[in-house]
Amino acid sequence: MAQPTAGHSVAAARPALATRWHRTTAGRTLLSHGILHLVLIAAGITFAIPILWVLSTSLKRADQVFTHPIQWIPNPVHLSNYVDIFQVLKIGQQSAIPLFFQNSMVISVTGTLGTVLSSALVGFSLSRLRWRARDFVFAVALATMMLPGIVTLVPRFLLFRDIGWLDTYLPLIVPDWLGGGGFFIFLMRQFLRSLPYELDEAARIDGAGSFRIFWQVLMPLSQPVIATVAIFAFLGNYMDFMGPLIYLSSSEKFTLALGLRWFAPSAAGGAFGYPNEWGWVMAVTALMVAPVIVVFFVAQRQFVRGIQLTGLAGR
């Protein structure tokens, strides 16, 4: 946590304090860092307020939601919203939220697995194997990143309809197992290119085939980019709204993102006409955001490192 440079500048500023400390280099650093911290804290609070507001409201009873002044820390704290929401929303006999959560997890985990495996295989081929159409295939992968996907929305829906995949998870999962999209292939390829090619040569001399090089030599070294791809893919699946909206129709198959819509009526009114339910809405929202925050906290170091190492930064 402790950044050596920051501590250093404080110590260096001390002897200068007797004179005009803010004119010295160290003093100037101290001053500018102080201002930066103030700006960043102000920005940080602005960014955090919506999430804090969700948490706060989710712990309030109806009569605490609209008070003057606003209660940021509910007094007393009520956990009842988190109990109620499991009873309020039902599909048949089943409580809807655990069901939606389970559906979301099935799709997200299967999809993430497919994205990591297939993008790694393709990235391996586009970086480590020498074949003729390689550069062309890579150009196509880049093109799919740049082409607006909206143009395939209607025909994809119709194609999935033709093969009877509507109202199944296949339209949401199968694309992930087929490369997962240009962006992930791009990340994998860029990262794999940064690993020394001598590794492959040495392994080949030892008699290893391509798959062993891929699986036993390169993949263990690719942890940061695997983490980056896995997080992006997981979040993409978990947060996806348009996909489930178009492809899923029976409510027992809904994902959390789609099911949450029952609580998210448009500006026209809906649940917002009944402000006493705000606590419920916020409790569901908090439950949906919680796993994402956990994933991000656990893996953020790997995730950020992965972005840096793909060379996305240097291009």
């Binding site: 507001w53 607006p148 909206i150 194609l159 500006a267 994402v292 906290f297 996305l312």
Partner: protein
């Protein structure tokens, strides 16, 4: 793509090659086959399908009917086409530059040797991993004209807040400000780019007496320009396709102020079931986005600086 390649392509690929080379070709192709299959299934075939749809009138119930350029003619006479394009362009061309500037400013701040940088980074990034449905709900509550956090706070200061999302003139600007909340990914990419700027360049410039601003203008910005370009291109492509927030929060209202292009395409396809017309609308947006991407690559040549050492990487 080179000359030699073109000549070689006329011959069967195994001509004059050892069996090992042939195996390498097959292997490369096999490892890439998931993507090749994916492109065929989710791009090539749908694109072909979509071209055919443009000339059809199809409501999914009756069999598709050939209408020639009927959908294009319909598009010309449809006032919502222009309106939704205007809304989308308004949102994109104001929000993308502003978002990139703020993301860059935050990245510059976090690139300083400060205490707690990772904590700040987490706070700025978290909103971007909030599912769009969840953030739509959150913002609807914050912006609610009567009971929302914003107007309650303004009321305490004695100000009567406007109706924000329910005000035709304010809805788009509110969307632009609201989406400031999710600039985390751009910020992280900028930050990674800043950390790739070699320290020696800054030191050399400092020795030559360059001020902080001069170093930013002449060292940081040129070195960062490829990353700015990447964020700009991807940002514009993404913004042109804004959907979920408008679908959930305003449903295109008030008075169609947030009727963005993709929302209009969605409506035509899945609410009015005009598959052919929706495909035609999607193609229009496709070409517009492609034109802007192309234009940016053209303009990019003048301001994006590629260091030769990095290019080969």
């Amino acid at each position: 793509m080179s000359q030699t390649n073109l000549v070689a392509r006329r011959l069967p690929f195994w001509t004059g090659r050892s069996s090992r080379q042939v195996r390498a070709e097959i292997e490369g192709f096999l490892y890439a086959s998931p993507f090749i299959l994916g492109v065929l299934a989710f791009w090539v075939i749908p694109l072909g399908y979509s071209i055919a749809l443009v000339f059809m009138d199809w409501n999914l119930l009756a069999p598709p009917k050939f209408v020639g350029l009927g959908n294009v003619v319909k598009m010309i006479g449809d006032k919502y086409v222009g309106l939704s394009l205007y809304n989308t362009a308004f949102y994109t061309f104001i929000s993308v530059p502003l978002h990139l500037m703020l993301a860059l400013a935050l990245a510059l701040a976090l690139n300083q040797p400060l205490r707690g940088v990772s904590a700040y980074r987490t706070i700025f990034y978290l909103p971007a991993v909030t599912p769009a449905v969840a953030s739509s709900i959150i913002w609807l509550q914050i912006l609610h004209s009567e009971f929302g956090l914003l107007n309650q706070t303004l009321a305490m200061l004695g100000i009567e807040g406007p109706r924000w999302l329910w005000e035709p003139d304010l809805a788009k600007p509110v969307f632009i400000v609201m989406t400031f909340w999710t600039i985390g990914p751009q910020m992280v990419i900028f930050l990674a780019g800043l950390q790739a700027v070699p320290g020696e360049l800054h030191e050399a410039a400092a020795i030559d007496g360059a001020s902080t601003w001069q170093r930013f203008r002449s060292v940081t910005l040129p070195m960062l320009s490829p990353v700015i370009f990447f964020n700009l291109v991807i940002g514009i492509i993404g913004s042109f396709q804004i959907f979920t927030a408008a679908f959930l929060m305003t449903a295109g209202g008030p008075d169609n102020a947030t009727l963005f292009k993709v929302l209009y395409i969605y409506r035509n396809a899945f609410q009015y079931f005009s598959m052919g017309y929706a495909a035609a609308l999607a193609w229009l947006l496709f070409w517009i986005i492609l034109a802007f991407t192309f234009l940016q690559f053209k303009l990019g040549r003048q301001w994006v600086y590629y260091e030769t050492e990095l290019k080969e990487g």
